[in-house]
């Protein structure tokens, strides 16, 4: 029990004054002064504590206890108040420390881009990897044998003409199998891949190809992705399903594909493959105009394909490709064409100008 004494009264008085001052302190500096004033070496309360021994014995315990409690209470109040003030001051300081957040970051990390052709190539590659295909790369300087002969091109096929194929100097005998040329398609790798590996074979062959054309829709260098799937039971319906998957992955889940009969020397049956236009409905855009992308057809040609011609297998029969035992499909698509369609690039040549203002738009 605390007994009232004159000294305890004084302690209460000091305590009350001090608590009032603490609450009134405006900043941490003022609070520090208050701490010194009430709890410092020369302050009254600590002195009271120190002089408790001099008090009459009857007062000693009560006074000592009261002073000690008062000191502890003051210390706690100061700490609480100090935390309050420090938080408020930090808040103010941070508030003053504001910046224009709309200025650019600095230093800006430079942003580089893959070329649109590479981006598109990777996109297509990744779809085919998911479908179980591997990626093979072939030679760009090839022989007549792999580019034409083993792909069942007749000796008179017009693609062999020097107007249609780049040949390596000196003046070539364009019908000799060893004559060197720049591959006109990625298809030579079909036969090379089959020479290297028995079926089942699932590959795509992306890469540069060359033909002597130069206008808004042809550059002498371009890129193709060849595909070849050979197994015991590959069908034309499998080709359609595979290309449907790819078309949807590249152009959107709403797409359809259609096969149109065509002719290629190294496939039989041969087809051209169209994808339904993603810019219109049945050839007409939302505002009723004839679609400029598909020219009102509703379909856009994207590639050539077919069932591998048995004559091609004859060239690799001893590598495990007996045309009565295995069958396959093959296709070839232009990377530039896919990229231009998907990204609305109006002129093929832009892809080879490499203007930085173009490059930074993709990749």
């Amino acid at each position: 029990m605390t007994t009232e004494t004159p000294t305890t009264d004084r302690i209460e008085q000091i305590s009350a004054d001090a608590h009032q001052a603490i609450q009134a302190a405006a900043d941490t500096q003022a609070l520090e002064q208050i701490r010194v004033q009430y709890l410092g070496r020369k302050a009254e309360l600590p002195n009271l504590l120190r002089s408790v021994a001099e008090l009459p014995a009857s007062e000693r315990a009560a006074t000592g206890k009261a002073a000690n409690e008062a000191r502890k209470a003051l210390e706690a109040a100061i700490e609480t108040r100090a935390n309050q003030l420090a938080a408020a001051e930090l808040e103010q300081r941070l508030e003053r420390d504001r910046v224009d957040v709309t200025l650019p970051g600095a230093p800006v990390a430079l942003t580089g881009r893959l070329h649109l052709i590479t981006q598109t190539r990777r996109e297509i590659e990744d779809v085919f990897i998911g479908l179980g295909f591997n990626i093979a790369e072939g030679l760009e300087v090839e022989t007549v044998y792999y580019n034409f002969d083993a792909l069942n091109h007749t000796a008179t096929h017009p693609a062999r003409l020097m107007t249609d194929t780049f040949y390596v100097a000196p003046a070539p005998d364009i019908l000799a199998p060893d004559t060197r040329l720049l591959r006109t398609h990625t298809s030579p790798m079909q036969v090379r891949a089959m020479e290297r590996q028995p079926p089942p074979l699932y590959i795509i062959v992306p890469g540069r190809t060359y033909r002597p054309d130069n206008d808004a829709t042809h550059t002498p260098q371009f890129h193709q992705i060849e595909g070849l799937a050979v197994d015991t039971d590959i069908t034309l319906a499998d080709l359609q399903g595979t290309l449907l998957t790819v078309a949807r992955a590249i152009f959107g889940d709403e797409r359809e594909v259609r096969l149109r009969p065509h002719f290629f020397p190294f496939t039989e049956p041969s087809v051209e493959v169209d994808v339904s236009c993603f810019n219109c409905t049945d050839g007409f855009t939302a505002d009723g105009q004839r679609c400029p992308l598909c020219k009102g057809e509703g379909w856009i040609e994207i590639l050539g394909a077919g069932i591998v011609d048995p004559n091609v297998f004859e060239y690799v029969r001893e590598h495990g490709y007996d045309p009565e035992q295995i069958q396959g499909f093959a296709f070839g698509m232009g990377i530039e064409r896919i990229a231009m369609l998907k990204h609305g690039v109006p002129d093929l040549r832009m892809l080879y100008d490499n203007d930085v203002r173009f490059l930074e738009q993709f990749g």
């Binding site: 230093p107 942003t111 580089g112 990897i129 008179t156 100097a169 399903g241 065509h262 100008d353």
Partner: protein, 804 residues
Amino acid sequence: MRAPVEWLREYADPDLDTHALAHRLTMTGTKVDAILGHGVGALENFVVGRVLEAEQHPDADRLSVCLVDIGDQMPSQIVCGAPNVAAGQIVAVAKPGAVMPNGTELGKAKLRGVESNGMILAEDEVAIGTEHAGIMVLEQDGLVPGTPLEQVLPIATDVLELEITPNRPDCLGIYGVAREVHAATGAPLAPAPWTDDPGTPGEVELAAVQVDCPDLCPRFTARVFEEVKIGPSPWWLKARLMAAGQRPISNVVDITNYVMLLAGQPLHAFDLDRVAGARLTVRRARDGEQIETLDGQVRTLDSDMVLIEDAEGPTSIAGIMGGARSEVQPHTTRVLMEVANWNGANIHRTSLKLGLRSEASGRFEKQLQPEQAMEAQAVATRLMLELTGARLAPGTIDVGGPGPAPKTIRLRDARVASLLGAPIPRDRCREILNALEFSTLDADDGLDVTVPAFRRDDVTREADLIEEVARLDGLEKLPATLPSRHGASGRLTARQRLRRRAADALTAQGLHEIVGWSFTSPEVGDRLRLSAEHPLRRMVELANPLSSDLSVLRTTLLGSLLDVASHNRARGASTLRLFEAGAVYLTDGEERLPREPYHVGAVLSGAALAPSWRDGAPPTVDFFAAKGVLAGVLDTLRIPWTVTRATESFLHPGRSARIEAAGEPVGWVGEIHPLVAAEWDLRDTVAGFELDLDAVLEPPTPLYREVSGFPDVREDLAVVVSENVGAAQAIEVIRTAGGPLLRDAEVFDVYRDPEKLGEGNVSLALRLTYSALDRTLTDEDVAERRDAIANALQEQLGGRIRAA
């Protein structure tokens, strides 16, 4: 090929408009590239008229003012400039509103003050001929003024621009396309135009033909026509030629062209009186033998080329081009009509070797069938008799005769289903094949199919028959399935991942990828200051480049990178950070395939960092900027590498190095020589590198190394070494001397001061990091290592530690 729809419908006339017909043809494999209009438009404004009066124009000598009955209540006044206009003529009239072949709309006009309500037409004005000297005067019988002109003359037709694939030379004629229309639409097919041959077999007395090389000339047919009157062809024939894109010339020549367009088989008309000896011999040329062709050029032949000669020598290069000597002339009266079949590959080769192509050679080289020769001969005979007043001399020369017996192929039901992924009923297959003129017999497991002569070369195997039934049954019926794969799985190879990561490491450092040309100019060697024997000068050369500056294949990526840098600099780009990844083509000069290693190259110019509002003037690139980017690639790939001072002629000799990995050179890094940069109009520092990514080994799979739980001890050390030593060598010595406790040593400052350090010396400030796996290192540990380092520097490099 241009197929006038009006002509096509004579043989197969489906109940489809042109667009629907085109769609059906396209979806069954005869692709229609375009639908064109030929002739005039607004057909209601073209009518038959009768000239009632033709008076001299009061103010123009050469104009007539005509009153023409065009079936209206009142005759029309039309001013006409043709000299042959006369009262009483039945003529073709275009009324105002008529749309002419060039698309212009005819209006009312005043000619020298006299009103003209239309035009009396010449044949060229409605694109059914080329004659413009006078108006067309129509046959009078029964033609009533006001009759729509389209009922009298073929003045307008749609034309299908067809893509005929090389396997279908049978479709290079209108009747061949009509067969496809029949099979694709079910429209009845009219009998072939050669069904009734007015000719007779047997000897021909007036001419003889000898074929010395039957391997190259499987069939040669000829007939002789006497009392031929050369003149213009009728309008219906001229109109069809025009619509098909051929210019009418005279009846005999037009007949050869018309029959070619109809039957797909070229013909050649000789003036028999100019065939010396009335005898033609087909033989191989002698090596070096010369002949002058119709185009006036002298051609030198070889013994694999075939010519046709008469008693005075060669007259034609077989299947390609005739000679002027025996050409049909305006006064020709006796015609020898040659229709022959040639070996397509041989024609192709001759045409290639001579650089000589013609409509005929373009068809023959696709390999026509011998049967087609007699078909064309029959049609030509009928037209010669009908249109030239000729009399057919009895007999037909036919050397070689028809082709081999037709082939029969088994079409197995099961194979159809297994190749397509869905069955086509046997009845349906039979129906389709019969419509295509294949004959069929039922077999146990399918059909025995006999191929018609005109498809002999195209359809030789079961797969070819499957294509026929699939394309006509409709590919849209096929399901969409995925291959069963049988366990095959797809993934990138380690090398492919490496290439992707290299490109990603470059874009991450702010470089844009370019795709340059594989072609370049041989002069790039000079521009790169390459010595005459420099291996990069050995370029693969093209035989037929598009131009001389695209005539060789690149041996370095630097050329295309500088091309693109220059292009962008010219368009105002000050900072350039570009890379390319792809093949270069390295030849040893031998005639074999070049090596095509996969290179990665980069060029940098301008600011080394992005300028910002804090630092408006960042440093520009130099050697170390390029080396930093290179490090970003190789370190990302975890490929250990070093550089050695070395240069190339296109590099700054003091700021260039060779890149080495696993002790092998794999590329260069450096600043581009200012003279080389200037060749590409680049005036400031350009730095770059080129790396043969195929030459670096794939890094091994990283294995875990223990991480110390004890604190590192760091110490900065300045070492003084000769400038010739090189930082890499100094660090190597320090690392070795530092032993296993020294985990890292990095240069953080380089300092030169001849007075304090001595001439030719450099101070490298290094931050060393020591650690041990089993304990906290003491000062004594570090001091011991420092002494070892000091000794090693002294002993191996003549260097010293500058300040402890």
